[in-house]
Symmetry: C2
Subunit: 348 residues, 2 copies
């Protein structure tokens, strides 16, 4: 090994705990499968839908940040609560994805058909009663609910001082998601609101709260402001990268359909910033029906990609600044720096 140990030790430690998170998820889902399939073969369907999405991979971003926050704050790698908490974060995320895919009518996820799409296709193929769409979406609603319930179960041992963080995270996902839906439906052009949604959904939910939760579990709630600074800036960068992949990227990298944001009149952060910068984009967005090819061309013309790359760079720098004077051990500062680049430059 030529890589200095100081740089690999944190990641190896986290990877070890992440393997325990996978075991915890597998064990819980296998147990629930056994239990409900004894009632009836159909009883375990919601469990299986959750399990399929968990096993399809994904970046495990939230569990990774939770474990990182915990370990960086000096948490005992042998304690089990953080493993349960990280597993719960992944289940909450899977539940949110299942519901989001219904909300967005998105048919693929993690490279496979979304739950509602797969179940609706089953229904149609077997000629069951009722409407295939309603059946598929109904099964998906229940599967998402189940993921949340299983997450709830895994957080039973969360110490009281961590509970408010956990509750905030859950509530923010729902409110952020609702505002996202509302802004798209009402074609609201409000860059500040779009930025709030991005900070809420990506910054807080995906990065800041998981890190702060990990630190609180390690007995270091005082680290919350450090992780807030890091997480909110990096979250905005993460959201801009997501918007860029959706606007210009390809589905193979994303594991989900791209171009949906524009087609669904989503006032993404990228678009909100473009509206503020360019009157022609504003005019196109203010039309009752969006001319998506014209919009994409205009975004290209004004060099939005370049501008966003600059902005992402600034945000990453701001995230890293939050780590300075944090008192976190140097190897963990390096690891958090590496994670920032991975999050902000994924799919490139």
């Amino acid at each position: 090994m030529t890589v200095p140990a100081v740089r690999t030790a944190p990641r190896a430690l986290r990877t070890g705990l992440l393997a325990l998170v996978e075991e915890r998820l597998d064990g819980l889902l296998a147990e629930e499968h056994r239990r409900w399939s004894r009632v009836d073969t159909r009883g375990a369907v919601p469990v299986d839908d959750v399990a399929a999405l968990v096993r399809a991979g994904g970046k495990r971003l939230r569990p990774s940040f939770c474990l990182t926050g915990y370990l960086a704050a000096g948490g005992d790698p042998g304690a089990g609560t953080v493993v349960d908490c990280a597993a719960a974060l992944e289940l909450v995320h899977v539940g949110a994805l299942i519901h989001d895919d219904v909300l967005d009518a998105a048919d693929t996820r993690r490279g496979a058909p979304a739950v509602h799409a797969r179940r609706a296709a089953d229904h149609a193929a077997r000629g069951w009663h009722g409407e295939a769409r309603r059946y598929g979406e109904g099964v998906a609603i229940l599967a998402g609910d189940l993921a949340d319930i299983l997450a709830d179960r895994l957080t039973a041992d969360l110490p009281p001082h961590c509970r408010p963080l956990w509750n905030e995270l859950l509530t923010e996902i729902v409110i952020g998601q609702h505002l996202d839906v509302a802004v798209a439906a009402e074609a609201v052009v409000d860059p500040d609101l779009s930025r709030w949604i991005a900070v809420c959904k990506s910054g807080r939910y995906s990065i800041h709260r998981p890190l702060a939760l990990g630190a609180a579990l390690a007995g270091r709630p005082d680290l919350a402001p450090v992780f807030e600074g890091y997480g909110e800036a990096l979250g905005e960068a993460f959201q801009l990268r997501d918007d860029m992949i959706d606007a210009f990227g390809d589905g193979a990298v994303a594991g989900k359909p791209v171009g949906l944001d524009l087609e669904q009149h989503k006032m993404t952060l990228l678009l909100a910033l473009a509206v503020r910068a360019d009157d022609r984009v504003r005019a196109l967005v203010e039309c009752p029906v969006w001319d998506v090819p014209a919009l994409r061309d205009r975004l290209d013309e004004i060099g939005i990609g370049h501008e966003m790359e600059e902005r992402i760079g600034t945000l990453v720098a701001r995230a890293l600044e939050a780590l300075e004077d944090s008192g976190l051990p140097a190897p963990w500062q390096e690891e958090l720096t590496a994670m920032a680049y991975e999050v902000a430059y994924r799919g490139r």
Copy 2:
């Protein structure tokens, strides 16, 4: 007052605590409303949808059973945890109703438009972007999710020995509901499975678990078998009454559309029992498309109403038997007896 005090004391005590449950719900929802409407006027929409359904009334069956289990078991009426737990049960129920109404395409609830129907109508009236149905259902999915999250928050102080009961209750709702949807779609004719679903959704979720949870909070987990016997028999009676109201009752009593079960090919417990009793009903139910008027006529002809009344009577008697030798104070046995009649004979 001519009614002996011994019979009214338990109800008065419970009514007092139920008023605190209402205050707790009102306070929590008002606080969340204030908080999220500060972000944006649209931010509080999911909170308002939950609040509207909470305030529209309902029987408060689950909170009442929880408080009754607690008080009957000798719980301290001055402690707050049971109030939070009872409020959480109502929020879980409201969340389940919001999601169920999407699953069942039911347009009214508690005498008012269901959340998804009201929001879809708003969308259509205002000419917003996208599909009104998807928007309405999306908002309803998020509102149901929020209700569950707020319930989660209210159970933060639940003692560890109560947590498994709470988790069971939540999981059973989802699995029971999924099986209900699956049985309808696949036109499964299996009276045992239909009975399992009824016991799960009505017996356990609405009666047995809330009572047992209350008793456990009062430090009497040993009462669980008594409340299991009472709750599962009474739950089946409750479900049969629900099926009877849907098949023969009127919407004004139910506060929701009636006749939906047959139209949606729901293999209710009532219908499953009728299939077992009568070959003509079986033949009608085995047709790919149900002839609903013919089915209703045949159910009438074979006197299903009379048979179900007999069965309900037997179930109520079995529920009351579970109270004998329970060691519960006589006034609480009387109160539980009164509740059994109210549940089994509501809307009559």
